[in-house]
């Protein structure tokens, strides 16, 4: 059932190696480039604004990992659902959520995607089937599986993507859930966004089973490792997993090897890794790669590329403007969206 882990991605990606014989179209590459660039620039801006103390809370950046979302979105259908942990800015951007409401959420404004009640770690967009944004490591694993349970119960052929970091793999929730998901043949695809560090603790330091794709073996879940710096590889793995789920054969575990260029959060001194290691992964950047393929195939002119770059820049600028001009929630909003019951008798004291 489980396939063998592929070689480490660090040895498989050569610059633009897939260009000449790629099965992917110009449109796909251009969309990947545009979407990933939006994620990258949005988060670079968010990081700057955070340092300038424009907003508070935590801020976990996805920078470097964008190919996972890009390949997942292109390899799936709009009716599929997505759930992830707290490193959740890129997923809704990839699904097409307006960056304005995401930036507003970072700012804690009432116009935010979660009305300023969720913040960076709790983005939601029901219109795009983006079901969070969850702050407790691993909690999204059973929940996302439950979303898939409902799809099967309702006899749809939708699948659910549940993303997690390599750290979440060690939570009991994962092991309890994997067992049920495969036993019940639920249409769920588990994506380990394996950037090799749970905060500052490397995979090697927390387990004897460092090949995370092997986690699926004990549950009889088909599993494989995937090059997470390659949207093509991610897309193909996702398509294969979707086929399995849609034909009723249950879950897949994808150990997608990636890297976050930035720290775990904004306060991370990154003493657990070398600058050389970061540089080595940055050399395989998926955005650069897509741009190289586009240029190599002469799919866009320099002017057209510049147009995309400018569009992205403008989107990000406008999202900041939108957020800064949006109001904070008013006091009464604290008592809204806690219960569906609209006349819930809250205790109100001094």
């Amino acid at each position: 059932m489980a396939t063998k882990a592929v070689a480490k991605p660090s040895k498989t990606t050569k610059k633009s190696s897939v260009a000449s014989k790629s099965k992917f179209s110009k449109e796909t590459y251009v969309k990947w480039y545009k979407d990933m660039l939006l994620m990258r620039r949005f988060e670079e801006k968010a990081g700057q604004l955070y340092i300038q103390q424009k907003f508070g809370g935590f801020c976990h950046l996805y920078i470097g990992q964008e190919a996972i979302v890009a390949g997942t979105v292109s390899g799936s259908r709009p009716t599929d659902s997505h759930m992830t942990a707290y490193r959740d800015h890129a997923h809704p951007l990839g699904l097409g959520t307006d960056p304005r409401v995401l930036m507003a959420e970072l700012y804690g404004r009432t116009t935010g995607c979660s009305k300023g009640k969720g913040g960076s770690m709790h983005f939601f967009d029901k219109d795009k089937n983006f079901m969070g944004g969850h702050g407790i490591v691993g909690a999204q694993i059973p929940m996302g599986t439950g979303v898939a349970f409902a799809e099967k119960y309702n006899e749809t052929d939708n699948v659910v993507f549940v993303s997690m970091g390599d750290g979440a793999v060690r939570q009991g929730a994962l092991h309890e859930t994997f067992n049920m998901a495969v036993n019940w043949k639920l249409p769920v695809i588990y994506i380990i966004e394996n950037n090799n560090y749970a905060m500052g603790t490397s995979v090697e330091r927390t387990t004897n089973v460092t090949d995370l794709s092997k986690i699926g073996l004990s549950y009889d879940i088909p599993s494989k490792s995937v090059n997470g710096m390659s949207p093509e590889a991610v897309h193909e793995a996702i398509e294969e997993a979707c086929d399995r789920a849609r034909r009723g054969d249950g879950p897949t575990l994808l150990d997608i090897r990636t890297y976050r260029y930035k720290g775990h959060s904004m306060s991370d001194p990154q003493k657990y890794r070398t600058k050389e290691e970061v540089a080595e992964w940055q050399a395989k950047d998926p955005i650069d790669h897509c741009l190289d393929v586009i240029k190599e195939n002469k799919w866009l002119t320099d002017a057209e590329i510049e147009e995309i770059n400018n569009w992205v820049k403008k989107e990000v600028e406008e999202s900041v403007e939108f957020a800064e001009n949006s109001p904070y929630p008013e006091a009464h909003e604290l008592y809204e969206d806690v219960y569906k019951q609209t006349d819930y008798p809250y205790i109100k004291e001094y």
Binding site: C113, P142, Y153
Partner: protein, 326 residues
């Protein structure tokens, strides 16, 4: 009217709701083929099939989380925990996920889900199997917490819980499942958050909930013989609490004893006591008293159980204390 056991009342509530709404389903340990560890779901697998009555592995966190996700995606799960002691393992999904989903998603996703099972002490089961979770869950905004004390209330409130669009914690008792009581032949619903005056009286108000209420009935009978008239209020729901019912009663009796199966600190009895000193201060002729479990983990030996649990004698003492008749 007909006489049914507590477990049958629960089963009727679930079965009626499952017939009415295809999105309702039951999952938990031993609920299907074993017919329920306490036979609450007896026969339900036969009627509804394995798609809607689902045996789970022993994985409280996992199956509670799966149910929460299913509720986010349009279903209405009923999660049976064999006891609420085991549900501590699922507390992350109840407290961090279900209770907060609507708020954290800015109103986009809600969790119409019922978590139910046996709660409180049930004989010589030792400390880990004997805890009462009313105050634990009542503490959490986003949840509703129901504590039925008889079959009639259990059925009406469980139906309300299943139809409710917010997550509900429904606390039963292994010791109550065999209790018998009368229920109507037809359908009925009891609204969440409404207390019930189980016995009218004039001298002292006894506020309680859940199975320990039986101690109040017994004490009230004995006190009646001594010329002391007790009004017994069954809160039925501890989040939200029907404070008005309690305050109105105390305005009449001017005295109150809270009877609670669980521990004293940060309890429902502390909450009721606070509320009365705040909102019925001028009506109180004596300090509010309470009778609770001892401030210790529950122990195994019968002598230690007798010492730990609220009983009739203690309640009578507390009632008399409010009347300065000790």
């Amino acid at each position: 009217m007909k006489t049914v056991q507590f477990r049958e009342a629960l089963r009727e509530a679930m079965s009626e709701e499952m017939r009415r709404d295809k999105s309702v389903f039951l999952l938990g340990e031993e609920v299907a083929e074993y017919n329920g560890a306490y036979k609450v779901s007896q026969g339900m697998l036969d009627e509804f099939g394995p798609k809607r009555v689902i045996d789970t592995p022993i994985a409280e966190l996992g199956f509670a989380g799966i149910a929460v996700g299913a509720s986010m995606n349009g279903l209405r799960p009923i999660v049976e925990f064999m006891t609420w002691n085991f549900a501590i393992l699922a507390a992350d999904q109840i407290i961090n996920s279900a209770a907060k989903m609507l708020q954290m998603s800015g109103g986009q996703y809600h969790c119409p889900i019922v978590f139910r099972g046996g709660n409180g002490t049930a004989g010589q089961l030792g400390a880990t199997h004997s805890q009462s979770f009313e105050a634990f869950y009542a503490h959490v905004p986003g949840l509703k917490v129901i504590t039925p004390s008889n079959p009639y209330d259990a059925k009406g409130l469980l139906k309300a819980a299943i139809r409710d669009n917010d997550p509900v914690v429904f606390l039963e008792s292994e010791k109550m499942y065999g209790d018998k009581g009368e229920i109507p032949e037809g359908e009925y619903i009891i609204p969440i958050g409404v207390a019930d005056i189980k016995r009218a009286g004039t001298d002292v108000t006894i506020v309680s909930f859940g199975k320990i209420l039986k101690v109040a009935f017994e004490a009230a009978e004995l006190l009646e013989k001594e010329g002391i008239s007790c009004e017994i209020i069954d809160l039925r729901t501890v989040r939200p609490i029907d404070y008005a019912c309690v305050v109105e009663s105390v305005k009449k009796t001017n005295r109150c004893v809270v009877l609670e199966e669980s521990w004293p600190l940060a309890s429902i009895s502390s909450e009721i006591s606070y509320h009365l000193q705040r909102y019925a201060f001028d009506h109180l002729d004596a300090p509010v008293m309470r009778v609770t479990q001892t401030d210790t983990p529950f122990a195994f030996s019968p002598t230690l159980i007798d010492e730990a649990l609220p009983n009739v004698a203690r309640l009578i003492n507390a009632v008399k204390a409010t009347l300065y008749r000790n």
